[in-house]
């Protein structure tokens, strides 16, 4: 098994890397197309602004590579958002994997959404709490895999073919988060 974390300059890779290490996996951090293509599992993390992140992806031609990947791909937080159709943040066109659009969380609730909240996965009974920190949310769509209700229900997790995405941070969500990563590795 060879897990590759895509490094496109959008910070916070260390925590994701460490989370896999705690599971006994030594992930490779890279922005090299060949390294990414040969991975058994690809992790696409991200923190920051969608527009800046998309520009960084484009400058490394990763915007072309990522949608073509055939192995299991896990987008985390901004990574998940960039796999969607479009995002209101900087009016950016996404990579178009998930049929979801990214919208600003309505200010009827406290924004950003920071803290632990429950997620109901479509293939699981009961809910588990995960750690969220975000101002933009993914709309509910045919690819919705997990729902979190914060003011309004939104896609906390998305799934389509070999692509998975989570809005929350599994690397910071204690044993529940570690379970998500373990299940991803079993794909």
């Amino acid at each position: 098994m060879e897990v590759v974390i895509i490094d496109y300059g959008a910070g916070n890779l260390f925590s994701v890397q460490q989370a896999f290490k705690r599971l006994g996996i030594e992930p490779i951090v890279s922005n090299d197309s060949d390294v990414i293509k040969s991975a058994s599992h690809v992790v696409f993390p991200g923190v920051g602004h969608a527009q800046t992140a998309m520009e960084q992806l484009k400058s490394k031609q990763l915007d072309v590579l990522i949608p073509q990947l055939k192995q299991p791909v896990l987008g985390i937080c901004l990574g998940m958002q960039l796999l969607c159709e479009s995002t209101e943040e900087g009016n950016v066109q996404g990579l178009g994997i998930f049929r979801s659009n990214i919208e600003l969380i309505s200010d009827e609730v406290i924004v950003p959404h920071i803290g632990w909240n429950d997620v109901q996965f479509s293939d699981q009974k009961g809910t588990n709490a995960y750690y969220f920190v975000h101002s933009y949310k993914a709309s509910i769509c045919e690819d919705t895999w997990g729902i979190c209700d914060y003011g309004q229900p939104f896609s906390a997790a998305l799934k389509r073919n070999n692509f998975f995405g989570v809005q929350f941070h599994p690397e910071k969500s204690s044993e529940q988060g570690a379970r998500i990563l373990t299940e991803f590795l079993q794909q």
């Binding site: 910070g11 916070n12 260390f14 925590s15 460490q18 989370a19 290490k21 705690r22 923190v47 920051g48 602004h49 200010d107 609730v109 406290i110 924004v111 950003p112 959404h113 920071i114 803290g115 632990w116 909240n117 429950d118 709490a129 750690y131 969220f132 920190v133 975000h134 101002s135 209700d149 914060y150 941070h169 690397e171 910071k172 969500s173 204690s174 044993e175 988060g177 570690a178």
Partner: protein, 250 residues
């Protein structure tokens, strides 16, 4: 559903060790920060705050390795603060695994710092810490560990900080800090009417009742404390168990 209310232990770190002052002075030793952070995560802490209170650059250099060690060994989010005055320093700490950056005095001296950090990392990453104290003229902003009154109105500064891109506020009532007389609930009520970002209340926590009052009387989403956790006076599992009866607690 609303987000779970957060119980947040704060580790004041100086020269590689966790310390805790009573009223920000008379520092006592509370041990190895990495071990303590790990223990709190295992006990169910929702998040951690690590504050570098080093006075010298030599001491300050001991902080980055601690941040890395915490990120490696602890699987809950943590905020780091103390002496962060530039995007470069913030970047180093985020690269080392911190989830959020907290700025205090440096933002008061140069408010553009908030805008810069928020533009670079997103506002969900930027915590503005404000130390407040009730004076004859109302609640004012204090700096230098609470010793210096800037004379600046606390509410005004908080509103400005949010406008400039603060994604979260960590508000410490200096009157309450270390005294265990409860949180400054009246002030938090005023703040939550003026801004719509998550707030972490700090200063004055002594009992589970104090947290319950904070979470029932205000819309504050986090309660921070140090000494009651460090000295085992109110262990996190016990606190959370008590709060669960009335408050949405994980």
């Amino acid at each position: 559903m609303d987000v779970y209310k957060r119980i947040i232990p704060c580790l004041d770190i100086q020269n590689g060790r966790t310390v805790k002052g009573i009223n920000f002075e008379s520092i006592r030793d509370a041990g190895d920060p990495v071990q303590l952070a790990k223990l709190y995560a295992e006990q169910g802490a929702d998040e951690l705050v690590l504050l570098d209170i080093s006075a010298t650059n030599e001491e300050r250099s001991t902080f980055l390795p601690i941040v890395e060690a915490v990120a490696a060994q602890v699987d809950i989010p943590f905020t780091v603060g103390g002496g962060i005055a530039s995007v470069e320093t913030a970047f180093q700490l985020l690269r080392a695994g911190a989830d959020k950056i907290s700025v205090n005095s440096s933002a008061i001296q140069r408010p553009e710092l908030i805008t810069e950090l928020s533009g670079q990392f997103g506002k969900q990453c930027v915590v503005v810490a404000v130390d407040i104290r009730k004076t004859a003229t109302g609640w004012t902003v204090h700096t230098h560990g609470g010793k210096r009154d800037t004379g600046r109105d606390a509410l005004e500064w908080i509103v400005e900080a949010v406008k400039r891109g603060a994604g979260e506020l960590l508000i410490t009532s200096m009157d309450g800090d270390g005294t265990k007389n409860g949180f400054a609930i009246d002030f938090y009520k005023q703040v939550t009417q003026r801004v719509n970002v998550p707030i972490i209340a700090s200063g004055g926590a002594g009992t589970a009742q104090h947290f319950e009052d904070l979470f029932t009387e205000t819309t504050v989403t986090g309660g921070l404390a140090a000494s009651i956790f460090h000295y085992g006076e109110l262990p996190i599992p016990e606190l959370k168990q008590q709060l669960k009866q009335t408050i949405r607690i994980r």
